[in-house]
Symmetry: C2
Amino acid sequence: MSQQPTTPTSELKNDRYLRALSKQPVDATPVWMMRQAGRYLPEYKATRAQAGDFMSLCRNAELACEVTMQPLRRFDLDAAILFSDILTIPDAMGLGLYFEAGEGPKFSNPIQSQADVDKIGIPDPEGELQYVMNAVRTIRKELKGEVPLIGFSGSPWTLATYMIEGGSSKAFTKIKKMAFAQPAVLHKLMEKLADSVTSYLNAQIAAGAQSVMIFDTWGGVLSPRDYNEFSLQYMARIVDGLTRHNDGRKVPVTLFTKNGGMWLEDIAATGCDAVGLDWTINIDEARRRIGDKVALQGNMDPSMLYASPQRIEQEVADILASYGQGSGHVFNLGHGIHLDVPPENAGVFIDAVHRLSRPYHR
Amino acid sequence: MSQQPTTPTSELKNDRYLRALSKQPVDATPVWMMRQAGRYLPEYKATRAQAGDFMSLCRNAELACEVTMQPLRRFDLDAAILFSDILTIPDAMGLGLYFEAGEGPKFSNPIQSQADVDKIGIPDPEGELQYVMNAVRTIRKELKGEVPLIGFSGSPWTLATYMIEGGSSKAFTKIKKMAFAQPAVLHKLMEKLADSVTSYLNAQIAAGAQSVMIFDTWGGVLSPRDYNEFSLQYMARIVDGLTRHNDGRKVPVTLFTKNGGMWLEDIAATGCDAVGLDWTINIDEARRRIGDKVALQGNMDPSMLYASPQRIEQEVADILASYGQGSGHVFNLGHGIHLDVPPENAGVFIDAVHRLSRPYHR
């Protein structure tokens, strides 16, 4: 690892992830996995059982720290990511988050009208959401400078889909009805969400997050115009409002819109440091289009982890060759790891990235 | 309407749809809606109740004809589309199609192994699938040459997702496991499906379908390489094997891959006549990229039909302006009409396309 003795981050033993996001030279391509702390790990299931329900696990800083650390004990990962839920903000707004077995998240008080939007406030990150900041502080201490900690939030559009649909959705008919029939009401909600996400991520940074990521899981269900109007402009506003330096080092921001491959130029133009890619685009094309402006994160199909070790290694080799020489690539899956993947296959993947990427960094 | 007295199709009273697919001049942009016969229409629900379950409706040529005709009685549509299910072929292969309330289609005998693939044969379109051909013949007669009849099939990849997952899916883990761990088994299945779809569509053409469309609803969940390998190459094989002229006229083929906006060039290169677009791409960009090779079908977000008549008309005007002057555009929604749309809004949409498109055809 390259040393930077003049800045406080020199205390990081492994800073490949942060260096790649700034396109500084690295010895090997850094790698982490979306949902790397999760149900595919038996030790996660044990801790989850100990906590009781899912939100109790999120609300307990010690246990949230424990599950954050679990994949790092198994695998040579280059970053940790805060263990938390994507819907903490709407929950703190009073929408009543709950989980039904096999059905995903639900809200008992979904947003249905202008009056509902007027009622909600901006949650205090060191108030209702302090449990998240406590988890960040606990994890950061426990990491002991081994690897950087990534904080995160759902994007305003993605949060709004759950808040208005009342849970997961296929066709997003309620939020689109609002977008097309009452756009002013939806924009009012998006403004409150953008302010909430900004304050939430800044508090995570203040608590110790060394990088942040915004997950726009559902931006890809919009037309290009509606994506810009209802999702991207609010992510851009958040990027503008973030604390971008802390502790003597830049805090990089990654934006990830699933199914956003056609809009990479617009995403890169927000001022973010990196763009997350799902597997529906070749990374060489993404690099050609935006790789001079930003770093790229991705992009192996998570289902590849069902294949044989040889097939996984071949896929890693193909993606590394597609990206090509030089820094600016953070290897990842193109979406969260599936819950029924054998953990040893994740290990094959991570080791292959490190081993096979060295020739691209000479 | 332009007359072509030397060919048998001159008997079509309205041939805008077929002319637009061949980029011949039209007086107005033709329009139809995916799932135009369906649950948003009260008269459909009445016929469906009369038939009993969904497959009984599909298997009854008179009732399938009745629901095909229903939207044409209400709206000034430029094409009829065969009323049938997307999963008739796997059902005829013996997989045991059934529907569970609120859960979508299921198969009691999903494909799990090489042995399962070996067991299935190519269904005889005038045998197990004769009920579909009977519906085509009945509808064609009932249409009395008013508008052309579109036949259709699911794409091999899309059919295979249901056959292997056993029903609808979110992450498509079973079929991807097969694609990455046992690709030869999956290719064997795809070959059988490509042969089955070719023979099925040719039989529809022989029975009277004047145009055919292949729905690749789930091709967009693949990487570019896997899309080419497991979905597009089999659609291309089908296009090659189709009867392309019948009754003295070309039988145009439309390919539609949902979330396929990044791969339009590859889709257009199959030799199809038209490419269907969902709403995640601007039609001006699609025309710039492939509109000299093929016609384009699409592409209004179906959720726009929740908005006010004024907003719907504005959206139609925007898409028409985006496509610009000349023929080669078949207006449609970017996916099937939602079941809770007010029918009168569909009427506003269809009338707006005809009224507002005339200036683009002078």
